[in-house]
Symmetry: C2
Subunit: 145 residues, 2 copies
């Protein structure tokens, strides 16, 4: 069989692409940390705040989205709350639940943060519209499993 379903040893081209994706990931992460740092935020704080800038979420949901333990979320929200970027609200439907929500200030910082993300936006400008469409389709198919 010329095309095995599970190639143990991937071909050179695949390895090259994996390598490139690794580089993109490193660049993206570094850029994200830097953008966060400009607002005196850590990476995890910035990620949590970005989530909350879309919609308020209970602590449990936050932990699921961030793929970490709920006890960890407590601390991160604590620090953001002490800076007035996030607040805890009671859930009227379930008094066990605390809903974390970004304050106005938090939303503003989250927006600045998004706009401060230069990587992926700048180099993308060097691609034609057709190429960007093509890249979008390829990435979409990679993520759709």
């Amino acid at each position: 069989m010329s095309t095995p379903s599970k190639p143990r040893r991937p071909d050179a081209l695949t390895m090259e692409v994996v390598e490139l994706i690794g580089d993109v990931v490193a660049r993206f992460y570094a850029d994200y940390e830097e953008a966060a740092g400009e607002h005196a935020l850590t990476g995890p704080q910035a990620r949590l705040l970005s989530l909350l800038s879309l919609e308020p979420l209970p602590m449990r949901k936050l932990a699921q989205k961030l793929k970490c333990e709920p006890s960890n979320v407590t601390g991160i929200v604590d620090r953001l709350e002490s800076r007035g970027l996030v607040e805890r609200r009671p859930d009227p439907a379930d008094r066990r639940v605390k809903v974390a929500a970004a304050t106005d200030e938090g939303c503003r910082v989250a927006r600045d943060l998004r706009e401060g993300l230069h990587f992926a936006r700048e180099p993308l400008a060097g691609l034609s519209e057709d190429e960007r469409r093509s890249l979008r389709d390829l990435l979409s198919r990679m993520l759709a499993d």
Copy 2:
């Protein structure tokens, strides 16, 4: 001034691609952490070990590649060394320098780790060779600036 140098609002397509790249980054990172965890390694430990599996490096160079302070590298190498995956060697040319090198065991673990990286390899298998080549070229151009 009210008009910053680049208030450019990127188009919808570009934002979509940025979003997708963010998803890819999240998936890649999660996969990497998981693969590292299977060898009882943390992410930073796995990254450092991977670097050393290519070639031995002095502590200073490691800090540069990992984009962190040298004092931080000390601790990570300490933990890897205490597990026999890495060793410190003196540099005959400069006695201030300590060269960190992966042991045989360390190289073996690094190889296992590379092969345990399922993401980016599996979904890539769903792309044709032409598509993978196209993806490679697009990513290359993104990184080349």
